[in-house]
Point group: C2
Chain length 251, copies 2
DNA sequence: CGTTACGTTGAAAGCTTTCAAGCATCGTGG
DNA sequence: CCACGATGCTTGAAAGCTTTCAACGTAACG
């Protein structure tokens, strides 16, 4: 687990953000866009496996994922790790730290990640100057909460195979909202250890469980990545309905 | 599972809310209090075991628990149930439905519950007229997210006994923030089925697990309720640190 | 070429669920 | 007033799922 590289400074101006053009994100008004742009302090690059945020830190910043995949996790004092959720482009990161004062989870990069860095101090200003953006922050928090609800249901009540199917269907769905993966199959950048720590299973059992999904031709496991072959089949196996597509804010 | 009783209309004016005086809640300014008061439409009473909100409903309202205990849960199509979190006085309820448009979980009363009912339509107005209150809503959402993070860690990575200890320590802690239970022991209004559905265990195993905690004199199980005898012992067993006390907003 | 990270397997041990009863309390209808 | 059904708590035992232990194979890297 390396440290993150120092900020590389601003590169992408918000007005020309490559994400903002995607159909997944709602259009911002001119003033909103202007504010967000002034809110941004720069960019940060994190390599695969590096720690983006660490539990206990009083992180001074709020981030948005510009590109790459990452994950949030917590660990018990003896080292057991639980992955809480995954972060994809457009996701806000560090809100708990910004709002509640302290981060109680860590974040690590799953691929090379570029983050937009925002100034935590200006968060109050955001709420005051742009009620709509304030509402958006709440919206994003509620969305995260809903995802956690689903994960908790899954870890608590689904069988191992169902859990694995749910996780992969979920990740496929999230990636799909960013850009259709219709004719290209999606490769999720994970190790089996990540899957195990998400599902609450041991690595050995996870391996055997993923193998069952592979035998049904739902997925194919490659080196450090999972190819999602049949997302509908996974959904069906997990008895999970993907949420209907809604445009979301991009801060 | 009965239906909730119809609204009983306003009884407690926000300015004289019995909760607001508690040290757990931050002081509101005059205008904030006035707004919250105008935001409130009335009160709702729910009996033990009744459904307060149901999955799939487009709930038009936002609620705050005025008194009593309730819980949020999700179910799989085949009936398996997972309890997601508990609601105590001062907790906001229905935010996901208000913000994202649809409720994907249900809420049920654990004791008789009185709720303050707010108008969802005025939520935008809240953000516009009182940035501070808007921030507070985000704060509450981030707090809920943090609790879910902890639950997920627990269900995913703790052993059965640790999980049970964590849950009871957690509930004790939440109740304690509302009013010290120093010389009186706390009675948590639960059945073992609730505990099972929170921990992701079967009812039989839950029974045996709770028995182990009772043998260690950490708890005592009564009829439909759990007496927390040694909250510190439970925390230690679960290796869990209770969050430090922070005053929180009460909307 | 040794080391490390990741994936794979088989088998034994251990934990959890399921099945099957049984007990107690409570409210209700006969 | 008492029997009866419903709800909640208990227990023992067998079945089933998951972890742990122990190896092994491969690919990437220094």
């Amino acid at each position: 687990m390396n440290l993150v590289l120092p900020s590389t400074g601003r590169r992408v101006p918000c007005e020309q953000c490559p994400l903002r053009g995607l159909p997944a994100f709602r259009d911002f008004t001119e003033p909103e866009l202007k504010f967000v742009s002034s809110f941004k302090r720069g960019e940060l690059v994190a390599e695969t496996g590096s720690a983006i945020l660490s539990e206990g830190n009083h992180s001074p910043h709020l981030y948005t994922v510009l590109s790459g995949w990452a994950f949030r996790f917590k660990t018990l004092p003896d080292g057991r790790r639980q992955i809480l959720n995954y972060l994809l482009p457009g996701d806000l990161l560090g809100l708990q730290g910004s709002v509640l004062g302290e981060m109680e989870h860590s974040v690590e990069a799953l691929t090379p990640v570029i983050l937009c860095v925002f100034q935590r101090d200006k968060l109050n200003e955001l709420f005051e100057a742009h009620a709509g953006l304030g509402f958006d922050v709440t919206w994003l928090a509620a969305r995260e909460e809903r995802m956690l609800d689903e994960h908790l249901l899954s870890v608590g009540r689904r069988t191992a195979v169902e859990r694995a199917a749910y996780l992969l269907a979920f990740l496929h769905n999230r990636a799909a909202t960013l850009g259709p993966v219709t004719d290209k199959v999606l490769h999720v950048p994970l190790t089996q250890q990540h899957v195990a720590d998400t599902l609450g299973l041991s690595i050995v059992h996870t391996n055997k469980t993923l193998r069952k999904l592979a035998e049904k031709d739902l997925i194919r496991w490659l080196d450090r990545s999972c190819e999602i072959i049949d997302p509908e089949g996974l959904q069906e196996l997990a008895d999970w309905d993907a949420p209907r597509e809604i445009t979301r804010p991009l801060i």
